[in-house]
């Protein structure tokens, strides 16, 4: 890859790429704890719709956030594969449910572009920037804003 030749002086961020709906997203790898297949998901009655449930991962309780619901990308078809990205926030564990996890790519920070003004507001709210890759766009997710469920209902 071209970026491999970049000088070491330039800041590079590695991203875990995931697919949610038809979109590709990137999560900074330093925020990603692990990637796992969510099993034995327990629904939480009365919880916000984005909370898919809770599950136990090696003895820790993980709150699973359905990214399709969070980004308003439509419900997942029944039986479709699900993967989870493990995130730590303030001592608590979260799992972001995505359709698929792709490769890890390293991208120079300088190539990250500001999100376009006409980006879907739901995406815009949680996007940190955009990379133009070959053939497709990758939206960089701001993990903190993704997990800030309070800003869901704003400007509907």
């Amino acid at each position: 890859m071209a970026i491999a030749n970049q000088s070491a002086a330039e800041a590079i961020t590695e991203y875990v790429t995931v697919t949610i709906g038809d979109h590709m997203f990137g999560l900074p790898i330093f925020r990603v704890q692990d990637v796992f297949v969510p099993e034995r998901l327990t629904r939480v009655p009365l919880a916000p719709p984005e909370v898919a449930g809770i599950l136990s991962l090696r003895g820790r309780i993980v709150t699973a956030i359905d990214m399709r619901m969070r980004l308003d990308l439509g419900a997942r078809a029944a039986g479709a594969p699900v993967m989870a990205i493990g995130i730590e926030l303030k001592g608590e564990s979260y799992g972001l449910l995505v359709d698929a996890v792709g490769e890890v790519i390293a991208l120079p920070d300088s190539e990250c572009e500001a999100k376009p003004a006409n980006l879907d507001p739901r995406l815009s709210r949680v996007a940190a920037g955009i990379y133009r890759l070959e053939g497709q766009l990758m939206v960089v997710l701001d993990v903190d804003r993704v997990l800030d469920l309070r800003n869901v209902a704003v400007a509907e």
Binding site: T42, G59, I61
Partner: protein, 866 residues
Amino acid sequence: MDDLLKEFLIETNESLDVVDVELVRFEQDPNNAEILRNVFRLVHTIKGTCGFLGLPRLEKLAHAAETLMSRFRDGTPVAGEAVTLVLSTIDRIKEILGELETLQREPEGADTDLIKPLERMAQQAGAKTNVPPAAALERLLRPVEVSLDELERIFRETPAPSPVAPSVKVEKLEAPAAVQDDEAKVAGQSIRVSVDTLEMLMTMVSELVLTRNQLLDIVRRHDDSEFKVPLQRLSNVTAELQDGVMRTRMQPIGSAWQKLPRIVRDLSAELGKDIELELHGADSELDRQVLERIKDPLAHMVRNSADHGLESRAERIAAGKPEKGIIRLSAYHEGGQIVIGMADDGRGLDIKRIKATALANGLATEAELEKMSDAQVQKFIFAPGFTTAQSVTSVSGRGVGLDVVRNNIDQIGGNIDVHSVQGKGLSFTIKIPLTLAIIAALIVEAGGERLAIPQLSVVELVRVHGKSAHRIERIKDAAVLRLRDKLLPLVQLSSLLKLDGDQTIPDRGFIVVTHAGAQTFGVVVDSVFHTEEIVVKPMASKLRGIAMFSGNTILGDGSVIMILDPNGVSQAIGGSVAGAVAAAQSDTRSGDDTAVEGDVSLLIFRAGSPQPKAVPLSLVTRLEEIDCATIEFSNGSHMMQYRGGLMPLVCVNDAVKIKREGAQPLLVFSDGSRSMGLVVDEIVDIVEDKLDIEIGSHHAGVLGSAVVRGQATEIIDVGHFLPLAYADWFRGRDVRATHQERTLLLVDDSAFFRNMLSPVLKAAGYGVTAVSSGREALAILQKGRRFDALVTDIEMPDMDGFALAEAVRSEQRFAEIPIIGLSSSSTPESIERGRQVGLHDYVAKFDRQSLIAALKEQTADVIQAA
């Protein structure tokens, strides 16, 4: 932070807490040289360390306090104000330490406001004492100097006899060494471990427990596994480890009490009351997490007691009580709980004032209060913002208080009870679980989800099916469970939690009778599994807003389930179901009663003869089978302890003998706080039939006979037995009257009296229509039904008897109806008022003889007039 400084802060704070307690003890027992030495040593150590660490401000303060204390040691009498001064100095030191912790350096400032009086007092004290002139210095000692007395003391106490006259330098080294020696002994037995480490250990053990459960689950499915034996061992070790780690988190409750002696001392000075604080069972241990949560509530309650519980000195003397008031705290273990008692021997709760305040705050209506037992009224003190203190003092009476105390206790799954005897004192009993980390929980399923309900809140499990004695009933839209004497609001868990599945409450199923706060309710679930020790994990912050859950846990099979919070459920019910039930409850009552011609539920039993006897079921509060061993004979009558009081037992007739062994069936009748047990031979059945008393009776205690289910049955007159149990329950004996059928309308908001009076009046020959309110009575009259007389209770909510009489009298067509007022109080004013509004007669509520006499007279009048 500098390690040395950190250590200093921890140690000094601990020492200061001890000083607090010891000083208060010392003030009470000024001749105890042991205590003084202890205090002196601690302050001295603080001073020394401050000097060493270069904290001049603290050092000066400690020095001044030490100087004053050294005077006490020299024999100066201890004055209360001196102790107060030293205590304020300790407070100041604590303040400075607090700032030191945040600022990392000693805050600026001089403490001349304290040091001056300390020095002055020390000087005065010094002047009074006969200190040998040689030893006395002309000036006060400077911080690092040691008085000659002290040198001599150290010299005497130094264990190693030194042949050489010791120099000051040696003394200084040896004195702390001796002190350290003492401390080393204690230190050898215990070490300081940070709370974080313990918390982490607890988490790890919890994980271990879960993993163990998981393994056990797997092995259970494989019959002959070679893992079985080692796993069993692992299981045992885990259990022991869990136990051990739990114990490291345990702290004696005394550590929560540590501040109390000081609080009480200060209060007693401030309020001018003599107060003694007794502490019992200070070494009962409980989880530090729980301890933290009850510390403040306890201090608050002690403050309350000191401020408005205990009377002033003069009041106490006038009441013939010892001058010194006592506040007693006690703690002991019982089951998995710790029971904490707090009692004072003060004035107790003033029921009248609570009622007045409850009324003023709109917590209850006058009529509701009228019906409440004292115990129920006392519970109002836990209502938010409730205070009966006439004046707001700096100590308490601001109306923030017991509701907060109760909330705190509710939150940790405990409960609080109050017991008060006016003039004698007040006591609180608090029961709380020993630990919150691992609890027993009932695993249930609702709407396809498993949930845990904390075992401590579960009262009982009831299985309801078509034939069971407990039925699910519907009152309007609300479902209720009739369980023994109570109607319990029901809530279906799956609909409460908005889960899938049938949202209507089925006629059969499992009901978890749950208790939370002051409410008992039934939670309808699809199935009940088992009880399991679960490790409570806090809810994720994103989900903490859901009041229905208190946390979650991982089960043995690795799945996560939610832990139901009974308090949350109770609150959710509070607004909806309970209200509907309360409304419906009075609805059905009145509904039943208006239909006098309709069927009545009768309890059939046998007593003394094979012929069945019956009593209207609505009069019976409870059916009990008690162990004969619990029956006591005292003061010429049989009685037993029942629900915290003594309940007299009365036999239906002489032929009934109280059994000597086995189970004795009883019918319990209650009115307010009083209960009576009617002894019968056998409880036969409950039937629905017309209650038509056909033949009157000459026997005391029998209203007459009726045909029930095709069999002649004696109808028992409960009113006859009540005065046998309590002479003052009613007055008068059974009255028979044979009249031609006349009709009367009975108005009483109390179901008990409606049910009580209806059969009595029926037996006296009247056709009775009973309603529960003035408005209903008016409605019936306006519909055109004719009655020969109107008998109405005076004290009723909404429209009272006077208002009803006025309304009736205002219509010409009712002008002739005689109205008889029933009242529990008959003051001349109320009788006069009754006359004005047109009551023909005014009868004391329980005086049935007069009522019937009055009725006879009034209805005879009607006949004559007609």
